[in-house]
């Protein structure tokens, strides 16, 4: 009985370790080796540091036997100074974070000054693996309405699909149900970009005109057609063009300008230029 219980606990611990490793390895991009190096260093470096410390002490033995009382006093003073410095560092960190957020808002406001906007924070993300919606902390009390466009510093985020008094739900452009009519900025050809299940950082551009020349690196912007998104908001860049045997079926992969996994601050456009 005791043995079984012990075995069970060991099993659970092993499973937790496997889970943590799985999460780490599937979410790190190519930096695994330096990560492993860091882990290895954790085991070796403290001992190594200890040896180095001893070595230094032995070689510089005249300073090692200095007046202990003076050293203790000095140590106390340094500790005091250190805690004071830590305190001011913490305060500075808070101010820095506040400053960053304000800067982000100002940058966003400057970039989209033609539009009347309301800043908002992302407060909740979709818990499903098959859709991609976010919840922001502004609602009908702040003048938010359905179908308003939501943008971030680097480009288009999506549009409002439902509103409560203090929150609004936004369907992002990477959602599988999202389809945005857009244009390739270099050629002005109209295409449709849709979210896919494959990758939440890319879109699939379809309905590319047969005579259109689409190149890797071309910028994709909203076309203004469809009645939701205003014209000229940056969506992303063409990452890859996939040619098929039938030219009408060819499609392109568009890398979104916005990093949706790190999206924290957005702007809701309350009126477009045409209004």
């Amino acid at each position: 009985m005791y043995k079984n219980k012990k075995k069970g606990i060991i099993g659970i611990i092993i499973t937790i370790i496997i889970l943590v490793l799985l999460v780490i390895f599937t979410n790190t991009n190519g930096n695994q080796m330096s990560y492993i190096e860091n882990i290895c260093n954790v085991f070796v470096m403290p001992v190594q540091n200890g040896f180095a410390y001893l070595k230094n002490k032995i070689t510089g033995n005249d300073s090692f036997f200095a007046d202990l009382d003076t050293l203790k006093q000095e140590n106390e003073e340094l500790k005091q100074k250190n805690s004071e410095l830590e305190q001011s560092l913490r305060e500075l960190e808070i101010i820095k974070a506040e400053n960053e957020t304000l800067k982000e808002y100002v940058n966003l406001k400057d970039k989209y000054k033609d539009y009347s906007t309301i800043p908002a924070d992302v407060i909740n993300r979709d818990i499903s693996n098959y859709s991609s919606t976010i919840v922001i902390n502004v609602g009908s009390n702040d003048g938010i309405k359905e179908n308003m466009t939501v943008i971030a510093d680097s480009g288009l985020v999506g549009h409002v699909i439902s509103v409560s008094s203090n929150t609004a739900q936004v369907q992002t452009i990477v959602d599988t149900a999202s389809a945005v009519t857009s244009t390739i900025s270099t050629t002005d050809d109209t295409i449709i970009v849709q979210g896919t299940l494959d990758d939440k950082a890319t879109l699939r551009a379809t309905f590319i005109p047969t005579d259109a020349v689409v190149l890797q690196g071309d910028s994709v912007e909203t076309s203004g057609i469809g009645g939701i998104y205003p014209k000229g908001i940056h969506i992303g860049t063409i990452k890859e063009v996939v040619n098929t045997s039938n030219i009408t079926d060819r499609y392109a992969i568009v890398e979104t300008a916005v990093n949706f996994t790190k999206l924290n601050t957005v702007l809701v456009i309350t009126n477009s230029v045409s209004e």
Binding site: T26, N27, I127, Y130, V135, Q169, A177, D198, K200
Partner: protein, 181 residues
């Protein structure tokens, strides 16, 4: 009277646990993912309620929890409620036909319920939102999600058993299971 009070307290505890799970799911598991894929704690939770407390509570709480999730973050109100209600019913059906004392059977139940729930929700969304059907990508995500749910089940299995038996004592009348003789 005491039994009734115990039932009421148990239901309150189940509702509080749901909110705790909601916060864990939306704050922790949105970044603690396997290749960007999250587990679904609500499927495990509602299945456990159906298995140990019976289908009535499984359906009712499944529908309420699902409806709440839809209102908070869902795109279509009702589908999670319906599917979690179905998971609650499946819990009772599985309890009648299989032993829940085995870790493997519990894991198989979780895997099948995750598949049923996600397939149901996905197909509903594909039909109502006129989305493209991406079968291969869907299966890939579903498999990872099932594996993630199974890993979590292995970790919390002792807790499931303990809490489950406490629920069973409160909500189910003791019967002699003749099929085991």
């Amino acid at each position: 009277m005491v039994k009734k009070l115990r039932k009421v307290i148990s239901i309150i505890v189940l509702i509080i646990t749901f909110f705790l799970l909601y916060f864990v799911q939306s704050n922790f598991f949105t970044w603690f993912t396997i290749g960007g894929i999250q587990p679904n704690l609500f499927i495990i939770y509602v299945l456990m309620i159906g298995l140990f407390a019976g289908k009535k509570l499984g359906i009712i709480l499944g529908i309420i929890f699902g409806f709440y999730i839809d209102v908070i973050i869902g795109r279509q109100i009702g589908i999670s409620g319906i599917m979690l209600g179905i998971v609650g019913v499946i819990g009772e059906l599985l309890d009648k036909n299989f032993s829940k004392e085995s870790r493997v059977t519990i894991m198989l139940m979780i895997a099948s319920c995750t598949a049923i729930y996600e397939i149901g929700c996905y197909l509903f969304n594909v039909i109502t939102l006129e989305m493209n059907l991406e079968i291969i990508a869907f299966i890939k995500i579903l498999l990872v999600e099932i594996i993630y749910n199974l890993i979590i089940t292995i970790i919390i299995y002792p807790l499931i058993q303990k809490a489950g038996h406490a629920l069973e004592d409160t909500f189910k009348t003791k019967k002699i299971l003749t099929r085991y003789f």
